[in-house]
Symmetry: C2
Subunit: 99 residues, 2 copies
């Protein structure tokens, strides 16, 4: 969960997730949306993979990244519920999800 928040701390990575929300995309296609080099983007992907927020699938010479929405969901909802913020009822509605 700490890795998830660390990953979300960077605007580039948050936007990568937003792009991936639409549909899976190759590393190159994702990179085209940002003004930084490919290696830099690759490093961002690594952080997102480390946080288990995205999944990589190699197809030919391309790597297709896909959002793992459930992981993002768990982290974010878990945290919001901690504060009694919105979200609330979903799945098993874990009440005592403290620390």
């Amino acid at each position: 969960m700490n890795t998830v928040f660390k990953a979300l701390a960077d605007p580039t990575r948050r936007k990568v997730l937003e792009l991936l929300r639409q549909h899976p995309m190759s590393a190159g296609e994702l990179s085209d949306h940002f003004p930084v080099s490919r290696p830099t983007m690759s490093a961002h992907f690594a952080v997102l993979r480390e946080a288990d927020l995205i999944e990589a699938n190699k197809i030919g010479t391309s790597v297709i990244y896909q959002l793992k929405l459930s992981v993002l969901e768990d982290a974010l909802l878990g945290f919001t519920q901690l504060f009694g913020i919105g979200a609330g009822e979903r799945k098993e509605t874990r009440e005592g999800a403290d620390e």
Copy 2:
């Protein structure tokens, strides 16, 4: 919003917010919950203040910190809604809340 996510990236700061969820607390009282020095905690408070996540009120020689839940709420819900995660219906349910 970027400052909010940056602030949330650190576990100490997240826990400060959780402690503050219960009730306002002085800098010293908050510090007692962590194994780091007062100045270090003070720096964390500064980051949280910068993100507008907490509010400081001086009472005598103490500084009482208070959680600004609405700011946390806006950031978190705004982001979760971006992904169609849980939360959903709240306030005006801003659809095009991008970037």
